[in-house]
C-alpha cells in the first residue's frame, strides 16, 4: 500500500453516483478487485476522517495506464466536497487497501451479484475474471433506475445479465435474491461473488451455503482509518475450528470474506439497543462503558 498525492483526471456524474478518475500509477499497478482506496478530506477539520471507496477500475496497460477510478454516492459531508472536486485538483490517497477477491483456479462459471454501490468493485472483478478465461454472468440490482450501475457496460462484460430494481423502474421488479437462483441455474454457476448491503449479502450467502456453491462477499462497513488501526469496521467471523467467533476488521482482514464463515445472526442483528450487551469481561449492570 502506498500514500500518494494523486491528480484528478476527471470527475463525472454516473446516474445518482459520482465517478472520479485519478492518476495514481503506484496504486493502480497493484490494485486488485475488491480492494479500496482511502481519500483524505480537506484540512479545515470540520470532518476529519478519510473516506473509503472500493476500486471500480484500475488500468495497468493501454492509454489509461496508471489511472484508477472510484465511484461514490455524493451525499453527506465529505462526499459532497469530493463531488465538487475538479480535474487537476490533487487528493491525498492511500491504497490499495484490504484483501481482494480470489480467483477460482479451474475454469469456472462465475455469477457476480451486486446491489447499488456494491456494483462498483464487481465491474473490475468481471474484467479480471474474463481475462482469466472465466465465464461471467451478472445480477445487477438497485433501488431504482438512477442507482443502477452502468447497465450497458455490465451487458458488455457478461454472458448473461439480469437487472432488477426494487421499484421496477428498470429490468425486473423485486430484489436481487428473487432472481439469483434462476440466474445461477441458467448459467451453470460454479462460483458466486457478491457485493452490496448487509441484508442482501445475507440472502445470497444463505443461498450459496444451501446450494453448496463456493462464494465470496465484499462488505460495506463504515471505516474510520481504513488501515487497521482503529478496530471500528469489524465483522463477526466464525473461527475455522468452529470454537467461536472473532470480530475481524473489514479493512485489513476483509472487505472480502467467505460468507460461510460470517456470523450472520450476530452481524445482522446488531441493532443498537437502549441497554447494549456489554463486552465480555465487563460487569452486566453498569452506568458507564469503556469507549
Amino acid at each position: 500500500m502506498r500514500r500518494v498525492r494523486a491528480e484528478i483526471l476527471n470527475s463525472r456524474k454516473l446516474g445518482a453516483f459520482q465517478s472520479i478518475t485519478l492518476v495514481a500509477p503506484e496504486i493502480a499497478d497493484r490494485a486488485r478487485p475488491g480492494q479500496f482506496v482511502s481519500v483524505a478530506m480537506p484540512d479545515d477539520r470540520r470532518f476529519i476522517l478519510r473516506r473509503h471507496f472500493s476500486i471500480h477500475q484500475a488500468s495497468r496497460r493501454g492509454g489509461w495506464a496508471g489511472t484508477l477510478e472510484f465511484v461514490f454516492d455524493p451525499q453527506g459531508p465529505g462526499a459532497e466536497w469530493l463531488a465538487e472536486a475538479k480535474a487537476h485538483q490533487f487528493l491525498d490517497v492511500i491504497g490499495p487497501l484490504g484483501r481482494a477477491f480470489a480467483y477460482p483456479r479451474a475454469p469456472s462459471n462465475c455469477l457476480l451479484v451486486s446491489e447499488g454501490y456494491g456494483a462498483s468493485s464487481i465491474f473490475f472483478l468481471a474484467q479480471e475474471l474474463r481475462a482469466r478465461g472465466k465465464r461471467v454472468d451478472m445480477v445487477l440490482g438497485a433501488s431504482e433506475e438512477s442507482h443502477l450501475f452502468k447497465p450497458i457496460e455490465a451487458k458488455r462484460l457478461s454472458q448473461t445479465i439480469v437487472i432488477v430494481t426494487a421499484d421496477g423502474s428498470s429490468g425486473e421488479h423485486g430484489s436481487v435474491m428473487d432472481v439469483v437462483p434462476r440466474a445461477a441455474q441458467g448459467a451453470g454457476t460454479e462460483v458466486i461473488y457478491a457485493a452490496g448491503p448487509r441484508p442482501m449479502l445475507r440472502t445470497v450467502a444463505e443461498f450459496c451455503i444451501e446450494q453448496r456453491i463456493p462464494a465470496q462477499v465484499a462488505v460495506e462497513e463504515e471505516m474510520a482509518c481504513g488501515t487497521g488501526l482503529c478496530f471500528t469496521c469489524v465483522v463477526p467471523v466464525i473461527r475455522k475450528d468452529g470454537s467461536g467467533y472473532d470480530n475481524l476488521r473489514s479493512c485489513t482482514e476483509g472487505p472480502v470474506f467467505n460468507p460461510a464463515r460470517v456470523f450472520w445472526d450476530r452481524w445482522t442483528s446488531e441493532e443498537t439497543r437502549a441497554i447494549p450487551t456489554p463486552p465480555e469481561g465487563f460487569p452486566r449492570v453498569v452506568s458507564s462503558w469503556p469507549a
Binding site: 500500500m1 483524505a40 477539520r45 474510520a224 487497521g228 488501526l229 469489524v234 463486552p279 465487563f282 469507549a291
Partner: protein
C-alpha cells in the same frame, strides 16, 4: 539563533524519548498496519491498544460516528488479551527500537493485577499506561476514575508489580482532577497521561436511534483539544515535577506546542494518526522548527514559557 544546540529528546520518568511525540493508545496498531505508510522508528514512543487479562471482542457495531471536528467511538477495548500481546505483538513492536508503553485495563482490581503480572519484567516494554475509564465491577460499574481511593488502589497495585515507569491515564471531566492526579502519584504512578476520550453520544435522527452499538462512546479529535489543554495546564500548575503526557485532538505541530506550553512533557497523537499516518513525524519536525525559531534548545524549555498574569504585552502593541 545560532549556537543553541537543539535536541528533541525528552526524559519521561526515566524513559528516554528521541522525540516528544508518541502514538496514543488504540491508534497505532501492532506494528504491522502502518508498514509502508509511516516509519514507526521515527515515533518518540508508542502506547499499545488497551490490553485486558482476558481477550475481549468489544462492542457490536457501529463503532464510529463522525461529528463536528471529531469522532465518537465505542470499540469496547477489543483486544486479544495480554498474553497474546506478549507472544505476538510485543516482539514486533520492540524491534522498532522505540519505547513501547503497554496500556493496561481491567474491570476489577484483580483484572489489573493479572494483566500487570503478565507484563512484569517483559523486555521490550518501556512503561505502562493505566486505563482508568472502564467500569469497575466492584463499584457498581462506575468508572474507576470516579473514586480517587479506587484509582489509587489500582495504580498502587500496578506500580508495585511493574519494573518500568507507570503512567495513570486520567479523564478531563472530573471536578477533582488535581486531587485525583495527586492521588495517583502518591499511590506510585511515575507520571500521568491527560486526557482520555470524553464521554459522548451521537444520535441518528433519521432512524431515531443511537449511532453507536455501544450507545455512549468517547469523543476524540480536534473537538476535545481545548479541554485537554486545560486539564494538562491545571495538573501541571499543581504538580510541576510530575511528567505529564498531553493527548487530545493533536493534529499539527502548533497543537502540540499548545500542550507543551501548558505544561506537558510529551504529547500523544491518536485520531490524527488514523487520518494522516505521518502526522507524528510531521509534528515532531514542526516542534523542532518552532524551538529553533524561538531559540530554545529542547521541548522541555517550553514548559515554563507561557506568559501568565502580569506579563501580558501592552495594549495596542503591534503584533510584530
Amino acid at each position: 539563533m545560532a549556537g543553541v544546540k537543539q535536541s528533541l529528546s525528552v526524559d519521561l520518568a526515566g524513559i528516554r524519548l528521541a522525540s516528544p511525540v508518541l502514538a496514543a493508545s488504540g491508534c497505532a496498531g501492532t506494528g504491522r498496519e502502518l508498514a509502508g505508510l509511516a516509519d514507526l522508528r521515527r515515533l518518540g514512543g508508542l502506547v499499545t491498544r488497551t490490553l485486558t487479562y482476558k481477550p475481549s471482542r468489544g462492542w457490536p457495531g457501529p463503532r464510529v460516528a463522525e461529528t463536528a471536528s471529531g469522532i465518537v467511538t465505542g470499540v469496547g477495548l477489543q483486544n486479544a488479551g495480554v498474553r497474546a500481546f506478549v507472544a505476538e505483538d510485543l516482539p514486533r513492536l520492540a524491534r522498532t527500537g522505540i519505547p513501547v508503553l503497554a496500556s493496561v485495563g481491567g474491570a476489577s482490581l484483580q483484572g489489573y493485577i493479572r494483566a500487570a503480572s503478565i507484563l512484569r519484567g517483559e523486555r521490550g516494554l518501556a512503561g505502562l499506561e493505566v486505563y482508568l475509564s472502564g467500569p469497575d465491577e466492584e463499584n457498581e460499574g462506575l468508572p474507576f476514575y470516579s473514586r480517587i481511593d479506587r484509582m489509587a488502589e489500582v495504580i498502587g497495585a500496578v506500580s508495585r508489580l511493574s519494573m518500568v515507569p507507570v503512567f495513570a491515564k486520567l479523564p478531563a471531566l472530573i471536578p477533582d482532577l488535581v486531587p485525583a492526579a495527586r492521588g495517583c502519584i502518591r499511590a506510585g504512578a511515575h507520571g500521568l497521561t491527560l486526557i482520555d476520550a470524553v464521554p459522548a453520544m451521537a444520535v441518528d435522527v433519521r432512524r431515531l436511534r443511537p449511532r453507536l452499538g455501544a450507545v455512549v462512546g468517547g469523543l476524540s479529535g480536534p473537538a476535545i483539544r481545548p479541554i485537554a489543554v486545560a486539564a494538562v495546564f491545571r495538573v501541571a500548575q499543581a504538580l510541576p515535577q510530575v511528567p505529564v503526557m498531553g493527548v487530545g485532538g493533536i493534529a499539527t505541530a502548533e497543537d502540540a506546542v499548545e500542550f507543551l506550553l501548558a505544561g506537558a512533557w510529551a504529547v500523544q497523537v491518536g485520531t490524527a494518526l488514523m487520518v494522516n499516518p505521518s502526522a507524528p513525524t510531521e509534528i515532531a519536525q514542526g516542534i523542532a522548527q518552532y524551538l529553533h525559531a524561538k531559540g530554545l534548545a529542547s521541548p522541555g524549555d517550553l514548559r515554563e514559557r507561557m506568559r501568565l498574569t502580569g506579563e501580558r504585552p501592552a495594549r495596542g502593541a503591534s503584533a510584530s
